[in-house]
Symmetry: C2
Subunit: 338 residues, 2 copies
């Protein structure tokens, strides 16, 4: 079993835990033979869910963790006090090398804080960004950073650009990914103090394919593969994306249901529309990796279903196979110190 | 004619100038008898457009301005050098009190810079924010600031909150508008340095109805009437809004056109859909006011048609009638100095 990628999976995290989480684990080991999943959570509950399926008992293990960290708890306090929570138990496994990666649909705050406190950053990495994939007209882009540490410095953004570039090239499979910095205009002299300071550093960076500034308007069109920004701005982008799309789809659905004739039209158009909206769903690529840690932590949506969980687990195998953390150590930290 | 609200209108600005601009002027004076429009631009061109309509010659005047500032020009340079451009001529009229307001669909950069340089800020106002109305599920919200001056201080954001609140109450007609600050979480302790510093100031501000933080996800749902943020973040929100909506509508249209059956469905649903998308269009309320100036400057979309131009002109009448600048002087500057 030693050659398998060991993924610790938070069986208790997310709106659909444990049912969809366990189902995702079963689907992942069926689909990808490189993977072993270690489900962490209330054992009896998790085992009962697992017993609904036929599965290879050597490739799905269950480890008990009695406590659960909810979304309402203050993250730092929760990580410190709930030593036997699924999140803390799993992160300790990653720290000790008993797991290669950790996937969770649980509290974003607790995962961000816990990853830093328990797993820790790769030596030389100043901050560990959270980098979700967002859907675009062309496919997906990596939005880095959307984490909890705001007010970043220019040197942080440069590391984000390099780590994001490695991730998009080797995990998502985009050769020479286009890297851009979020700005309020296309010209180099535009921007706030942070962007003005970061821009020339990125421009002089040989390891990445820097294409300059990107205005927020162009993000959904897929004009860059790696979108670099400070975490406050990243959070605004990520959440507004969800909000605008949610409202627009709702309004359009209401519009389609507003008259008898439009209802007939909607029924006819439904399969085509469904396909379109599915194309705008990034979850088929997996969750949001937290990069620069001594291991991999992947945050999936709180509302994740089994497919998103499965894809997030498979993403971990690719991350390990591609030696992303070795690449980060070689390509980022060495070049930083030159 | 002295009791009329005099609106200087940039006949040369925007993608559809001068045709749609002139048409908007004609529609405005027909619809609202309080208004006199002064069209500024290449006289022969503008007059030729005007001659297509029956109009009251005392209520639409034309003033010649030979030069045009394009979107590609560096704003500061353009304002300094093109003294006879429609923008500079119009701003000088506002400064001298020959016009009460200026409406333009031209270069945002030139309008922002020119307004500060030529018209100037009300004494005591630290910055003049640009505050577009954005569509929500409920109606519209005012997003303040989306201007060119980034890296704001807490005291700037407090003035934005007060000015925005006055505008939404007296011009848009929302009693006790709900004011919120853009943040990455709902709790008071969340946020970057600027937000953490601004939050308690807004909380202690008696002149506004402060409801706390708003996450970007909730903006399209209309949870606040006045959305306060620093201009870099405001720009990102405004442009991402346009981008996501644009891509989503395009994808849905493509989806509807993808099969023969869905095409029939689309044809049936079209009127209902059109109505829905129209509801998500903020231009019926007018353009984006630039607040805190010795006069009013309104920036309308570069792609404005006559209806948006007309609504922006009528908005100026309401602004004048409601004495917004007097209210700003009394309610903001006096309370600031208490």
């Amino acid at each position: 079993m030693t050659d398998k990628v060991k993924v610790a999976l938070d069986a208790m995290g997310g709106d659909n835990a444990p049912r969809e989480i366990v189902k995702g684990a079963v689907e992942a080991v069926r689909e990808d033979e490189r993977i072993q999943v270690i489900l962490i959570g209330k054992e009896a509950l998790v085992q009962a869910e697992l017993d609904r399926y036929e599965y290879d008992k050597e490739r799905i293990l269950v480890i008990n963790a009695d406590e659960v960290i909810s979304n309402d708890e203050a993250p730092v306090m929760a990580i410190r006090q709930k030593k036997n929570s699924s999140i803390v138990v799993a992160l300790n496994m990653v720290k000790k090398g008993e797991a290669d990666a950790f996937v969770s649909a649980g509290s974003t705050g607790a995962i961000l804080v816990g990853s830093q406190l328990v797993v820790g950053r790769i030596r030389g990495i100043e901050r560990a960004p959270l980098a979700p994939l967002i859907p675009t007209m062309d496919g997906v882009s990596l939005l880095i950073d959307c984490g909890a540490n705001v007010d970043a410095r220019a040197s942080h953004l440069v590391q984000f650009a390099k780590m994001g570039s490695l991730y998009m090239e080797h995990v998502i499979g985009i050769p020479e990914p286009k890297v851009a910095i979020v700005n309020i205009g296309a010209e180099e002299e535009k921007g706030n103090m942070l962007v003005k300071e970061t821009y020339p550093l990125l421009k002089n960076c040989n390891e990445i394919n820097f294409i300059g500034s990107i205005e927020a308007r162009d993000i959904p069109y897929g004009k860059a593969d790696v979108i670099v920004c400070e975490a406050f701005v990243g959070n605004v982008i990520l959440k507004l994306y969800e909000g605008v799309a949610g409202v627009l789809v709702k309004q359009i659905k209401d519009g389609l249901m507003s008259t008898t004739v439009s209802k007939i039209g909607a029924a006819l158009a439904k399969p085509a529309l469904k396909k379109t909206l599915k194309a705008l769903d990034a979850s088929e690529y997996g969750g949001a990796p937290m990069l620069g840690l001594n291991g991999l932590v992947v945050k999936t949506h709180g509302s994740s279903n089994s497919t998103e969980v499965k894809n997030s687990i498979i993403q971990c195998a690719l991350f390990k196979e591609q030696n992303i953390n070795e690449k980060i150590k070689k390509k980022i930290i060495l070049t930083d110190n030159e």
